[in-house]
Amino acid sequence: MINLHEQKKSLRPQTARLWAAVFLLLGVLLGTFDAPQYWNFLMDKASVRSGVPIFSYLKFRGPILFPYRLGLDIQGGAHLVYQADLSNVSTPDYADSMDAVRDVIERRVNLFGVSEPVVQVEKSHPVFLGEARPEGAAGSDWRLIVELAGVKDISAAIRLIGDTPYLEFKEERLEQERNEILEEQKKTGEFREDPYFMPTPLTGRHLKRANLDFDQTTFQPQISLELTEEGAKIFAELTKKNVGKQLAIYLDGAPISAPVVREEITEGRAQITGNFTPQSAKEFVGRLNAGALPVPIRLIAQQTVQPSLGQESLLRSLNAGIIGFLAVAIFMIFWYRLPGILAVLALLFYITIVLAIFKLIPVTLTAAGIAGFILSVGMAVDANVLIFERLKEELRAGKILSEAIQEGFGRAWTSIRDSNASSLITSAILYWLGTSVVQGFALTLGIGILVSMFSAISVTRTLLIAMLARRFEKTRFLFINGISR
């Protein structure tokens, strides 16, 4: 951290003026980067006016444009949360299963042509403060988050994701078990378990490929399944165990076929014949290939925003930001006069840096995030205010201008550092514990605070020193505010 108390070598006004020029140039460059559309507009105008076409080649195009990444509530889109039911999976396989689900859904999602879809596995952190864990909590704390920004038809997307087929192989229950369950059902009238078939470890995870064939003699459509190596092993065991018995194949919880096993099958291939029409068989195969879900998922939360509402939101936020900035600028200039003008310039520079950072990282801008940024603009002024107040004090204490500036900065720095630290701590906590909307806010606020600390210390100070000159000594009144106390 810069310790200004120890700085013996102080900045000379000439050097400061050089730096000021650098800042100005940098500011313009960054500003152009932040909002290339204005540059493009200028170039267009220039090429039309001068008749020299070269200008139109100097425009920003394509990836150099670096668009801002906009959150769902601004772009429009859907945020979906799916709960995965891992009750049939053994604990060490949880992570793998979730990754497999993630891959399948991602493949599906990529079909929508959404730019940068987000498909993430999330383990929820239930903090059951003193309450009993609700039933079925074990094996069901894994979630899948799907974010589709800018997707056109949200309900079609949900349907497509939800329709990813869930394939299961089930074997016959022992007679005793079957009777027990049937008894149970008669008693309670509830239908909880399938009395005829019980689940096996063989599921859609083990499917390598599905193909549509037609039987040579009957011309009936057939679905042939090719299993993975692991699947083939399990399948071999199952078929060996169940020779002469039925092995049921379930798709999305409904049985589609229950052929009798004739012999042990070791090559990991299975054929499903049944009452399929060629159309439905083709559909099945398509769905199975697009990815059979290894684990069933259920949509437990959905947040969708239409792009029109998002646009509105964005425009209003921008408007608010501009007006807010103007209000602050007017206040600063009125109250602090010359230093106020410098602070406004420093603030502009600050804004261009922060926006550039938002573009580069990139930071997803949500409505709350933009509010956070605007808030940090207001707070950025704070550091400057601290410095100016100190400055006034030192001047009133009779110091000459250059000394006053040095002293002012030194004293103010500890205040700035300590007070911003607390805001940074809360930003960090917000980021860690929040949902994506809250994280957006925490990030913009945090970045804003960090950059504001930097810009107050370096930029404002440099600009102030740059203003040092013999003649300004006489016009000290410019540095003391209009309303004297």
């Binding site: 609700p134 959905q302 509402l309 807010g324 207001g378 500890t414 205040s415 607390s422 701590i425």
Partner: protein, 294 residues
């Protein structure tokens, strides 16, 4: 020079009354939790033509088994419907049943997530407060023999509680009278207020520290504190003013979704500034007086 510590009992009483009022508001009226915390659905639609009567909408949706539907008009042609958590098919069913309406946004949240969010929020608030106490105690550890550094931390937290409780009380009242909801954004606002208010308080404490260090002739603690507060008052008010200007712009001109969020921030900053000047320092003085060896 304003005599702030001299009137400390007056200021603390005002704060005390406000805190008590907020506390009662919360105890009596509670909050209106948003669907973030309770689970449920929110559907915002805009009608292309005339906005139908509420009773008509209810009748149309009767067969969809949505339970109790709360309908709120918004803007000129829009309605916001709130009901229980539903699945996608029901969602499409609603849209089909209301052909003249186009969907603006739709949220449906299951109960598990709601509970999780509630707990996480409480956790966040507790953690943040702890972190801040520790930070202040650390930052002010070498301050003086007169008042130990822990007292600064704890006083700051009391001031913070004040800053957080009063806006919460206001929102409790708003929830009761205007149906304004408390959601994750509100919690975010509270956490931001925590951060910012401490910011303010630290500036005052920092000044106290500096003035104590610079003392050439010993003087009563109260006098030093009063002087420090006076020194920093201009800065506190100016900073808060700039932030308020900016936030007011956002609240008035900004989008609907952030309006109450920003209101919470504004309240927090107003009371935060008030507490840094009129609550934190007087408390320090009183504490000092109580623990002074006569």
């Amino acid at each position: 020079m304003l005599n702030i510590t001299g009137h400390k009992y007056i200021f603390l009483t005002i704060s005390g009354v406000l805190v008590l009022a907020s506390f009662s508001a919360i105890a009596i009226w509670g909050f209106k939790p948003g669907i973030d915390f309770t689970g449920g659905s929110l559907l915002e639609v805009e009608f292309k033509e005339q906005r139908p009567e509420v009773s008509e909408i209810r009748k149309t949706l009767k067969d969809l088994d949505l339970g109790n539907i709360i309908i709120q008009p918004t803007g000129e042609k829009g309605e916001i419907l709130r009901f229980k958590h539903i699945d996608e098919n029901t969602h499409q069913g609603i849209l089909k049943a209301l052909p003249g309406a186009s969907e603006k946004r739709f949220d449906t949240i299951g109960p598990t997530i709601g509970k999780e969010l509630r707990q996480r929020s409480v956790l966040a608030l507790v953690l943040a407060s702890l972190a801040i106490v520790l930070y202040i105690a650390f930052a002010f550890r070498k301050i003086s023999k007169l008042v130990s550094s822990w007292k600064y931390g704890i006083t700051a937290i009391i001031a913070l509680l004040h800053d957080v409780l009063i806006p919460t009380g206001v929102f409790s009242a708003l929830g009761h009278f205007r149906g304004v909801e408390v959601d994750t954004l509100f919690i975010t606002a509270l956490l931001t207020i925590l951060g910012f208010s401490v910011h303010d308080t630290i500036v005052v404490f920092d000044r106290i520290r500096e003035n104590l260090r610079k003392l050439k002739i010993p003087e009563p603690y109260e006098v030093t504190v009063n002087r420090s507060v006076n020194d920093t008052i201009a800065r506190s008010i100016n900073t808060s003013l700039t932030v308020l200007l900016v936030l007011l712009a956002v609240m008035i001109l900004g989008g609907e979704t952030t309006k109450y969020f920003v209101l919470a921030l504004i309240l927090g900053i107003i009371f935060g500034t008030y507490s840094s000047i009129f609550v934190a320092s007087p408390l320090l003085v009183i504490w000092n007086n109580l623990t002074k060896r006569v």
